[in-house]
Symmetry: C2
Subunit: 613 residues, 2 copies
């Protein structure tokens, strides 16, 4: 028994009690998963996690990530004890309007949470992102991540284990709450702590085992973590529902509140309700930022054909040179997405994530939580690997600036595994997202520049091939806007494209002109939000729209156009959607666009058919 033993145990008991009280009041939630980590939280928050509860956004604060987000009641309980909010707030758990949601969410009313968790296996990567942000800012704060044992089956955890060690982020400590029981029964490895210790060691971490209900042992493990040159992985042997006889290590209690008629018995076994308060250790002081010297990279400009992926890379390198908060993440394809150019300009703010897209997005989420403007890029097809992390970004209210290259069947010979053809559907469906799809170099630069100041998730889709320059380098491309490239007061039909298909639309217009058909051409570079007014006017004035996308016919530009039109009231006219409907093979880009029925000839045919000519 150390001098702090009783203090920590009292706090731990209160965390357990409050986890039970709050969930019983809510009628749902995860008390037992909170109780297994009560001692781990108590020692951490009372004496190791250095933060100012009154200034949770202070950059010198240590950070805590509850990767096992379902144990939110435990987190809320310790935050209450730290003075973040009162017991009434705690007891509002899971009610409409309460910031104490079922899983932690970083909304303004819950500023002690930096990233949303609840989809398992995502916390460690976010923690690494925060640790890297601290390093970039020469802040020696620490990051602590609490993991559950079920989530150790998620590959995303091992991506983050790998990356944390590779990047030498020894300011990261992971704590594994090894309580043996998952949602539906025992986990794969039960209490075999050695399994996880050995794996952590093999992944380049320091690793220790500890009794997760022995506060003095926990304290020693935490103290030791700060001293190792590697990140430290603490495997804590715990019991789910610890401290209450009818919950402790019992199956059938995952995600269940204690019934009201058993509340007193449960709280009683833990020694009753308490009123423990504590002040967390003070955060470190941070120094003023060193002066920043912008690079001499100029804003990119083009007068010859260029691939939009190249223009994106050029623009990101320029932004990295001009803004010290810009960080660039690569999934080992920086020579394809051209983010390697940012590496040349700002190597200390270029993070190589290798082929680990889930970790890349998790790290990006952590970086932005600490104020970085992080851009991440890979093939659009491979961003789907991180679809869940990106989805969780909406819950985190994260500013994720993403680019997917090699869009559509237009990549050609590499074949369908490398083609992004469902990416617009993925990104359009995200809350508050912005989806951009430039057709040339100048618009790609302007839209990438705009992404640096956009909130939420923004996605720029880029093309592998070089495309002709359509716009002036100082043209403006508002989000939600469009460009009408050809129009008259007697247009017969409107051709709507974006990216590569805009060029096909322009060629189709020439083909149609030879038949005496006059086509308007609209560049919907902003797929979401989309230019509703221009589309409605086009329908009203021409009566016929043909929308063409190098994307699946579902969920992309065509659906966006239809949705926009439907929002304007009574529909009158035709809208033909052209998009990819089969599974491509290998062929040239031209052959594949013809195969998909999205090339100039197919567009012209569709227009003629619609017009009955």
């Amino acid at each position: 028994m150390g001098e702090n033993t009783q203090r920590w145990n009292e706090l731990a008991a209160q965390i357990a009690v409050d986890s039970i009280r709050a969930t019983t009041a809510a009628g749902s939630g995860h008390p037992t998963s909170s109780m297994s980590m009560a001692h781990l939280l108590a020692v951490l928050f009372a004496d190791h996690l250095r933060f100012d509860v009154k200034d949770p956004h202070y950059r010198g604060n240590d950070r805590f990530v509850l990767s096992k987000g379902h144990a939110a009641p435990g987190l809320y309980a310790v935050l209450k004890a730290a003075g973040a909010f009162d017991d009434d707030a705690l007891m509002s758990l899971r009610r409409e309007g309460s910031p104490l949601q079922g899983h932690p969410v970083p909304i303004p009313e819950m500023p002690w949470v930096d990233v949303a968790t609840g989809s398992l296996g995502q916390g460690l990567a976010s923690g690494l992102g925060m640790a890297l942000a601290m390093r970039m800012d020469t802040i020696t704060a620490r990051v602590w991540v609490m993991l559950g044992d079920s989530e150790m089956a998620e590959g995303s955890v091992w991506e983050a284990m790998e990356a944390t060690a590779f990047h030498g982020a020894n300011n990261v400590t992971a704590i594994l709450d090894l309580n043996r029981l998952g949602q539906r029964g025992p986990t794969m490895h039960g209490w075999h702590a050695d399994v996880f210790r050995d794996r952590a060691l093999a992944f380049g971490w320091n690793a220790v085992e500890v009794d997760g209900h022995d506060v003095d042992a926990i304290d020693r493990a935490y103290t030791g973590a700060a001293d190792d040159e590697r990140p430290t992985f603490i495997v804590a042997h715990t019991q789910k529902g610890h401290g209450v006889s009818f919950l402790e290590d019992k199956e059938g209690w995952h995600g269940k509140a204690v019934p009201a008629d058993k509340l007193d018995a449960a709280v009683g076994e833990l020694g009753g309700d308490r009123h423990v308060r504590f002040t967390p250790p003070a955060p470190i002081d941070i120094k003023d930022a060193t002066p920043f010297t912008p690079s001499d990279v100029a804003r990119p400009a083009y007068d010859k054909p260029v691939a939009t992926r190249k223009a994106f890379g050029d623009a990101v390198a320029w932004l990295a040179g001009t803004d010290r908060d810009v960080v660039v993440l690569d999934g080992e394809v920086g020579n394809s997405t051209y983010t390697e150019e940012a590496d040349a300009v700002a190597p200390d703010r270029f993070v190589q994530m290798y082929i680990a897209e889930q970790c890349m997005i998790g790290v990006q989420t952590g970086l932005q939580a600490l104020g970085k403007k992080a851009f991440a890029a890979t093939f659009g097809a491979f961003l789907t690997r991180a679809a869940d992390q990106i989805r969780m970004g909406t819950v985190s209210r994260a500013d994720l600036r993403l680019s997917g290259s090699h869009a559509g069947v237009s990549i050609g010979e590499d074949g369908p595994s490398q083609m992004a053809i469902e990416d617009l559907a993925l990104f359009r469906a995200l809350a508050g997202s912005t989806v951009l799809y430039p057709a040339d170099g100048p618009s790609a630069v302007a839209l990438t520049e705009r992404m640096a100041t956009l909130d939420g998730i923004s996605y720029l889709r880029s093309t592998r091939e070089a495309t002709p320059v359509l716009y002036a380098n100082d043209d403006v491309f508002p989000v939600g806007g469009s460009k009408t490239l050809a129009s008259s007061d007697h247009d017969d039909v409107t051709l709507i494209g974006a990216g590569i298909t805009l060029h096909e639309c322009l060629a189709a217009r020439d083909q149609l002109a030879s038949d005496g058909i006059t086509a308007r051409v609209v560049d919907c570079y902003s797929v979401k939000p989309i230019d509703v007014a221009t589309l409605r006017t086009a329908l009203d004035e021409t009566g016929h729209l043909v929308v063409v996308e190098d994307h699946r016919i579902e969920g992309g530009l065509g659906d966006a156009v239809l949705g926009a039109l439907a929002s304007t009231g009574t529909l009158a006219g035709t809208v033909d959607k052209l998009g990819v409907t089969g599974v491509a093979g290998s062929a040239t880009p031209e052959e594949l666009r013809a195969w998909a029925g999205i090339d100039a000839a197919a567009i012209a045919d569709a227009a003629r058919t619609t017009l009955g000519r």
Copy 2:
């Protein structure tokens, strides 16, 4: 030098030469990544992989998965030498119509490939699925998986490492082609084979290191793999571009064909073109299947409210009891999706994947490649974790039967991290997919039953809450159909829902009736394909549609309805889309549907507004 040394080396040299020849002819591709594994392939195919090249679908064949799919030229080269096809076919690599695509695809003309690869890190899980299928059929064949070193950063590989060891699939051998170089430069661990050996051991595998260009050492490693009680991981130290001085271990040659003017020099260094042919070892004999005794589980029927997730679980258990090829996969939520009922009926065909969704889909892909009708289920939100694996399922032409539970904001208190609200967008956008969304128990059973015989990717979305029974237990629910629950010859508006929102539409109909408004109600249980004719008729007859979904407003039912209508020609009328537009918090299901504007009151309001009443 063993008796086979020269034979193997000759074959390896031919594989290298043919990889170069084919890619140079194509003008693109991955010769150097093929060359690093040439010796590994030569020994494997010539003397260890037991298969009948003339009968590639024979169930007793060993299976090979090229997880590093970009090295397809090497695979094609060894298949040519085995007599699968001739040199003309090899030289058609990457051309339009050639079955020799840039990455391997299991199309009818390429029957030696079982699953598509090319999105890295997916091959091992598919291999495990095949190994489990063999075990279920008491076939003692083996599975060999060739991995690249860059893809070892993918968490999906470690999910599969974990699962392969956990399931004791010692008929799996993984070969790591440790060639040190990724796409843009050195990999994370270079030639440190010990890193991967130690990790494999820590994940429960047998692990050995080998010189990947020493055919005799390779042969010994392969022989040893068959003898261990664990799956075996062979770390092969190799050189990218091995055997050609200007390619060997050189940076800058990833994914690049040798220029035509260097072709002779490259081939010359490898000893010139060859005409090696070989016959692979004969596959094992397989026994007749043992008789199958169906269970006595009856087809589920309901007359009281039931959650569609429960009806799905009931139906899958019934199917597992009646069809020996049905396999059920769980992501450690079988007590939420009710797949645990299938575990009770057919435990030998229930596979617990724990919380590793990517591996779950990969295993499912492998199972179906060997003829299993595999169902996999988890929360719809967490299926997004495997979005890339599901996407690749379209390239594999895989029959993936998927169900996502806990759809929409209607899950309530657990909050947004657990809500599937982008899943319809994800699944609609997949080639050849079927998207089903039943509103009650009988329709959930009928649609689950139908999934068992559907080709391609089928997705059934289910609801957490119990919902009233609307249909008779013997009602028929064709894919592509709908049910009109209320209609007359004087309907003012059509309310279109699916799943939970159908019930809100029915309630809205009652509210509108009290205002003298007559509403038609359509159940779009088949979201894709959708019932175009019924929708068009509804628009023509009522002039006003209100489409309601517990899903993001983009990419789901509303867009499906609009797309269907647009495909029928000239539009005339209004279509109001109601769906989720913000980020939910925790609250009751009723509160959240009201918040999202998708409850009966909101539907009725939308109808009144549209009608101007």
